[in-house]
Amino acid sequence: MEPLFSIGPILAVLTPVAAVPVLISSKNENVREGWTFLAAGALFLMVVSMLPSILEGARLEFVIATLTPSLAIKLTVDALGMLFALVASFLWIVTSAYSIGYMRTLKEHSQTRYYSFFALSLFATIGVAFSGNFFTMYLFYELLSLATYPLVTHHQDKEARSSGRKYLFYILGSSIAFLIPAMLITYAYTGTLDFGSQGFMAGHGIPPKLLLLLLGMFIFGFAKCGIMPFHSWLPAAMVAPTPVSALLHAVAVVKVGVFCVIRVITGVFGTDFLSSLQYNSYLAYLAAFTILAASLIALSQDNLKRRLAFSTIGQLSYIILGAALLTRYSLTASMLHIAMHAFGKITLFFCAGAIFAASGIKNISRMVGIGKRMPWTMGAFLVGSLSVIGLPPAGGLISKWFLVLGTLESDQIFFLFVLLASSLLNAAYFLPIVYRAFFCSEEESQFENKVDEVPAWCLGPIMVTATASLILFFYPQPFLRLARQAVQTILGG
């Protein structure tokens, strides 16, 4: 189907960037935050306005610039991109609200810079979601790395400095060392970088060994996807303020990483071509290894945000695993999990931030009894945990269920066991927190009475995302439909 010309994509991409000058120039913090909301709302509306035509099966396209006849910077909206953009733009609104509460409570410095770069990050994220070819995707991917650097190192202290260094070293280093050459070699062989529904690698006579090398370079080049051994930037990046960790490390950055991996598998290599090569199994095993290893490491972490970070690494590999299995169900699961995990994980991060903002506590061992002081927060935490573990009544179950179906469909029982083991491990590192938070004797409780719920600006977003997680269990339609549609265009039928 021919793509339709539309200025929708470019408008959507530019909305966050348009807000930046206003953010910088406004002196009053209320005005500044008002603008953030306005931009977030506008972005969401813009994305939603394109939803109907996408659901009808159309593809929207906008060419920004043409580099060579076969290479352009162009934006295309398809079902997969739509799904991701929908998640990201919705969660930006929520995170903006949360940021206001969090940043004001902790009286953080340089808030203008914070909001500006937040908007820039969203710009890059939406750009990745709507990228029409690999080249454009790479541009926005790189932009995202840089736009998030000041956010990660927001505190500007020694720890932030070393973490920032690690962050850049992994993210920028891998993309320069692996991604650019891989992209160029691909381009040199194929003469195009436009995503196809069955990729564009097939039929150009690329030697199989080189193909394997390229696949590896692509996967490791997108170090944001957190696959081992290129994962250790993610826990390091947890030094950032919590809203940043929440949005960027549960939603934008890491999801951009896995989104790019899905694009590589489906849009660059193509499922048929990849399965004929059998290289997908290497990837699946790597993902499985990451899932188990990350879950085990998560168990040993006492810092809540670090535990969440390792949990994220594991969950990201679910998505990669799903994509690597190349079956109808697994691909659906993989795409769906982007959304489901986003809602679940952001709730968890919000909760961690709320606990820190209210009590200054970062470590799990000191959270005994906190549920009595902050019942709403911890209730939301429970919902988030359920979603990530994959238990009803939270949305995470849906995607996991599809993933399980996918492993059965591909006759790879090994991965089924991996999934089950991982779910158990997930439960093992989340549920005790909740349990200890609510059920403990008075003398065990580590909290004075003065610790209370966080302000409404913080709590509201937590409730919204937690509720959304619950709703998605009962009504996963928008995302499920988009994911199905995306898989349909890939696998046909």
């Binding site: 610039a65 580099l67 190192t153 202290d157 060392a177 650019i180």
Partner: protein, 500 residues
């Protein structure tokens, strides 16, 4: 007037240089407007000229009305049409930027400074548009002589390094002259196009081969290509603020342009890439140069000196990319001439602001600058990202073409060197950013440098410097976004059709 654009680009600044020098003896206030007006006129003419070249492919201007082999002609095609715009734009923007620096550094020799500045720009512009091999030498000497004096007047070391540069530069220029002599002895003409037309029968002539080697050696010396780069870092590090923004971006780039012009339009691609089997060796030198330049940059504590080693590496990019001998590599090389001129300008503009405000040139002097001068730093970051090659800045796109040229030619060492250099550049710039971002501003700045009188308040640069700086920084992004148009509409036609 439109048929006179090629002459206007050169003659208007020349006359203005006379006027500015005279004004320096009569009334100093007129110097700056004269200089700006003339370079602006030159810039506008070159833009119009480029527009015309895009339409008609080639503009020829016969000086004194004598046709090609007899007289001197100016020949503008897509290649130098692009470069001339860059040259005049950089000269103009840097002049506006450095007004206050000039007034501060050379209060009693302002007129002469402006005259030398304009003459330097004139010389470079002439080198770009001329179609005569000997005329190029004369213009090269104008640019060199004015360049030496623009460099030579600052601190103690500036004079020594300028003198060293003069000696090396003269060797380079004289070698070029000798090469032209060898060409003349074999062909009997000095017109580039006519030499090229003789080249098919001449390709086995020994003196042509020798001419090629000698010209190339001379140009390599002048552009500081790897083993011959020794003079550049010292010469550029100690150059006054106002001059460095003109000299550093343009000298090496214009010399690279001349190399490309000689190889493509004088010696013909057939001869340069096939008959003479030197391109492989040159690419290897470029690879070593890129790696060595990057490593040397890493070893520097002084940020200006670090930038100079980056220039050495960038010369390696352009030369290496060109001698890959395929369309992608040459496109990347030509695109990089334009991009690198602006990137280097941005870097040295930033260095100029820092040098004025913090009175130090060590990276460690830059503590806390993000807090004190956020606008300057923001633009500087843009420049740094462009050097690293981060999209969507222009540095990425030229690197893209260079790397794809390397892949096409199957020269993976070159690709590796480019990527290595990008990584090193990332380290270099983030090292600076870290110091400026994380370390708190210390009040002890400048005390040991400013000779007793109290430290200058570190604050945002004045608008007169900031606005030109932003023009350059933003153009880095704009150039990046439109590099596709640049390639398809201009550079594509700059490369002979025989090269694929």
């Amino acid at each position: 007037m439109s048929q006179h654009y090629p002459a206007l680009i050169i003659v208007v600044p020349l006359l203005a240089a006379l006027a500015a020098a005279a004004a320096g003896w009569i009334n100093k206030r007129y110097c700056f407007p004269i200089a700006v007006a003339s370079l602006a006129a030159s810039f506008v003419s070159s833009v119009f000229l480029l527009g015309r070249v895009i339409r008609v492919k080639e503009v020829i201007y016969e000086m004194a009305g004598w046709t090609a082999p007899i007289g001197i002609v100016y020949r503008v095609d897509a290649l130098n049409g692009l470069v001339i715009v860059v040259v005049t734009a950089v000269a103009l923007v840097n002049l506006i930027y450095s007004k206050s620096a000039i007034e501060e550094d050379f209060p009693d020799k302002m007129g002469t400074y402006y005259a030398l500045y304009i003459l330097f720009a004139t010389g470079l512009a002439g080198m770009v548009v001329t179609g005569d091999a000997f005329n190029l030498y004369v213009l090269m000497e104008i640019a060199s002589l004015t360049g030496y004096s623009l460099m030579g007047l600052r601190r103690d070391r500036a004079t020594v390094s300028a003198l060293n540069y003069l000696i090396v530069g003269t060797i380079g220029a004289t070698f070029y002259l000798l090469g032209v002599g060898y060409i003349y002895i074999a062909t009997g003409t000095l017109n580039m196009a006519e030499i090229a037309s003789f080249m098919s029968q001449m390709s086995d002539s020994g003196s042509i081969r020798m001419a090629f080697v000698i010209c190339l050696a001379g140009l390599f010396i002048k552009m500081a290509f790897f083993p011959l780069h020794g003079w550049l870092p010292n010469a550029y590090t100690y150059t006054p603020t106002a001059s460095i923004g003109l000299i550093a971006p343009l000298t090496t780039k214009v010399t690279v342009y001349i190399m490309i012009r000689m190889a493509l339009s004088v010696f013909t691609p057939e001869f340069s890439f096939k008959t003479i089997e030197l391109s492989g060796a040159i690419v290897w030198l470029a690879i070593i140069g890129i790696v060595a330049g990057s490593c040397m940059a890493l070893a520097q504590k002084n940020f200006k000196k670090m930038f100079t080693y980056i220039i050495v590496a960038e010369v390696g990019y352009m030369v290496g990319g060109f001698w890959l001998g395929n369309r992608a590599g040459i496109s990347g090389s030509v695109l990089h001439i334009a991009n690198d001129a602006l990137m280097t300008l941005a870097l040295f503009m930033a260095a100029g602001i820092f040098a004025r405000k913090i009175k130090g040139e060590e990276i460690s002097d830059m503590q806390g600058l993000f807090r004190k001068m956020p606008w300057t730093m923001a633009a500087f970051v843009l420049g740094g990202l462009s050097i690293i090659g981060v999209p969507p800045t222009c540095g990425f796109f030229s690197k893209w073409y260079l790397i794809s040229g390397g892949i096409e030619a199957g020269n993976y060492y070159f690709v590796g060197a480019l990527l290595f250099s990008s990584l090193i550049n990332a380290v270099l710039f983030f090292r600076i950013f870290e110091v400026a971002y994380f370390e708190p501003f210390s009040e002890s700045h400048g005390h040991d440098h400013s000779h007793g009188h109290e430290a200058v308040a570190v604050e945002e640069a004045p608008l007169g410097m900031l606005i030109p700086f932003y023009v350059v920084a933003i153009s880095l992004v704009i150039l990046g976004i439109f590099s596709g148009d640049l390639i398809t509409k201009i550079i594509y036609f700059a490369i002979p059709a025989g090269i694929v």
